[in-house]
């Protein structure tokens, strides 16, 4: 694979640029996309770089088309990806459903904006439910929630590998703040870090002579009988459950003796990290737990953190009304720890918001 970064070096840029470079470094072949704020610069930078590296791009007529062209690209054996936000993410749930049904390892970068409807073009964490369980299926997908530009870069590279290794669609869940903020990160070619990129392979267009070398490949996503569908979905679910421990990622700090554990994800976890340190400095035993994968969710790990700390409370904080909270509740059903919440839909959450909230509930 061509080395696009060369010698690894620190760079200063926006999150969207980091995403475009990461796709390039990961060896992505083609992007299909439709403009929507706040993800536009992913397309801007991809289209600037793509011709220089022999990569493809198509600006489609809408997000439905962007999603389905990505499905086609992946079926043909190419590392295809897209990026979207808000109402675009809503439209793309249809093709993402096809990707779930056919186990198409596409990668989609979601830069959340405010909702419902057109909402704002700026920021929120309101696409958690949609991205984890959108569509008319069972959420057979992998969702990484990033919090820094470095993570956008790292998890896009990892995401292409997870997708092609396990054949589930992968989502990089960022937000408008991460998209537009400028901060340094270290870019690198995966090989230089000993990361082996998974090979893409076709599901159709397999080559050889049909009838002599092989039979035809007929890809299917619709079934005549309830029992047929039941069998397929149950099998996929079992496979997903079995793979989950290999995929699940989380971050945990100061949970050994915490009285209260802050549960946050994405960019809000940066504020939580600062808040927990500040609270500790003031003698308040706060802990930090952050699911990095929202699907599959690190439920064992969160249960373990609650158990070992003996925490009396969880504080779930998010820039949405209970989307993370609902995920957490379904995953840790049966725990008796009291759940406090800080919901700030569509606006940022900073350290002092969290500190004040913790003090008010302890």
């Amino acid at each position: 694979m061509e080395r696009v970064i060369g010698e690894s070096k620190k760079s200063f840029m926006t999150g969207n640029e980091a995403a475009a470079w990461a796709c390039l470094a990961a060896g992505a072949d083609i992007m299909f996309g439709y403009p929507i704020t706040p993800q536009n610069e992913i397309m801007h930078y991809w289209t600037r770089m793509a011709p220089k590296y022999g990569k493809g791009f198509l600006q489609t007529e809408d997000e439905l088309s962007a999603g389905f062209t990505v499905c086609g690209g992946v079926q043909s054996g190419k590392k295809a990806f897209t990026a979207t936000a808000g109402p675009g993410n809503v439209l793309m749930q249809e093709p993402f459903g096809m990707a779930e049904a056919m186990r198409l390892p596409l990668l989609a970068i979601i830069q959340q904006r405010g909702g419902p409807s057109s909402g704002t073009v700026v920021y929120s964490q309101q696409e958690v439910s949609l991205t984890t369980y959108g569509g008319n299926g069972e959420g057979h997908r992998i969702v990484y929630s990033t919090s820094t530009h470095q993570e956008i870069f790292d998890y896009i590279i990892k995401g292409f590998n997870t997708a092609w290794k396990f054949r589930f669609p992968v989502f990089i869940l960022g937000d408008g703040y991460q998209a537009k903020m400028r901060e340094p990160l270290e870019m690198y070619d995966p090989e230089s870090r000993g990361i082996k990129m998974e090979e893409a392979y076709p599901l159709i267009g397999l080559g050889g002579k049909i009838g002599q070398d092989r039979g035809p490949s007929h890809l299917c996503n619709i079934y005549s009988l309830e029992e047929e569908l039941y069998e397929v979905i149950t099998k996929v679910q079992a496979e997903y459950d079995a793979l989950a421990p290999q995929i699940t990622e989380y971050d945990e700090k100061f949970c050994e003796d915490a009285d209260i554990i802050l549960v946050t994800h994405g960019v809000v976890s940066r504020a939580a990290d600062d808040a927990v340190k500040a609270l500790r400095a003031q003698g308040i035993k706060a802990g930090y737990f952050r699911p990095i994968t929202l699907r599959p969710f690190p439920q064992q790990e969160l249960r373990a953190a609650i158990a070992k700390s003996g925490a009396k409370k969880l504080l779930i904080a998010e820039s949405a009304i209970g989307q993370l909270e609902r995920l957490v509740k379904q995953e840790i059903y049966g725990e008796t720890v009291k759940i406090e919440t800080l919901f700030m839909p569509g606006v940022g959450i900073i350290e002092s918001d969290l500190i004040d909230k913790v003090k008010s509930v302890l």
Binding site: S65, F68, T69, C71, G73, G77, I204
Partner: protein, 249 residues
């Protein structure tokens, strides 16, 4: 050359096919199969089928094939072609999938002159869902959702697909309307539509007028009469755009 009763590119385990008796799909797919054989492209073809009756063709061919969603066959074919230009992508859809729910994809892929071949079967109704009105339902035609006959005042006139696509595409596109009542012509048009893609010229589109006796509730004679006397009069058959010289009307 000996005439083969069954095209080599047909997938025999899926035969006999599942279309209703008297349905035109079998004729279209036979023509497509013979063309695939004659062009010797069985191993390069990617066959994509829409939802609706066209779905019954999903494993019709011994070619690599994929199901898609209703209306979304066009973008899936475009995605494959853009990713692997050496493949020959054939999207197969009905009038609902192409002209209604997927019309934005059809229109825009035509404008972009995407190098794919689309075959759209026009039988004037939504067959699989039980015979509802389609964009192509004729004025006055009775369907389950136009029980008193289609009233153009309320629901407009039938979509003239090839005519509007011809307006949207450059000269390198191929656009035609065929009918299952003229088999040789149908086959010729499909062949031109595939050659046009293979030669890298551009968008290739064939609408095929077809029969649906089940939902029309017609016997054999009435079925043929409706196709030849009603449909072919409303929807003119012929080549609207061909990069291969003079078309035959």
């Amino acid at each position: 050359m000996a005439v083969q009763a069954i095209p080599k590119s047909w997938y025999l385990p899926s035969k006999p096919h599942k279309f209703c008796p008297g349905c035109g799909h079998g004729i279209v797919l036979k023509a497509l199969g013979e063309v695939i054989d004659e062009l010797e492209i069985q191993d390069q073809v990617i066959f994509g089928c829409d939802i609706g009756c066209s779905l019954l063709s999903w494993n019709f061919f011994a070619c690599d094939s994929t199901q898609t969603h209703h209306g979304r066959t066009t973008p899936v074919m475009v995605g494959i072609k853009r990713s692997r230009p050496e493949l020959v992508c054939v999207g197969y859809m009905g009038d609902g999938g192409g002209y209604s729910i997927g019309s934005q994809h059809l229109l825009n892929s035509a404008v972009r002159n995407e190098k794919v071949t689309l075959i759209l079967v026009n039988n004037t109704n939504y067959g699989m869902t039980g015979g509802q009105m389609a964009p192509t339902t004729l004025p006055g035609q009775k369907t389950e959702t136009s029980p008193y006959g289609r009233d153009p005042e309320l629901t407009g006139y039938p979509t003239m697909g090839p005519e509007f696509i011809a307006q949207l595409t450059p000269d390198s596109a191929y656009v035609a309307r065929a009918t299952v009542s003229k088999y040789k012509q149908l086959k010729k048009y499909i062949k031109s539509a595939l050659r046009n893609q293979m030669e890298g010229n551009g968008f290739s589109f064939v609408e095929v007028l077809s029969t649906c006796p089940t939902n029309w509730r017609t016997n054999a004679q009435q079925t043929w009469n409706f196709l030849e006397d009603e449909m072919e009069k409303y929807f003119p058959v012929g080549e609207l755009k061909t990069p291969f010289g003079k078309g035959d009307k």
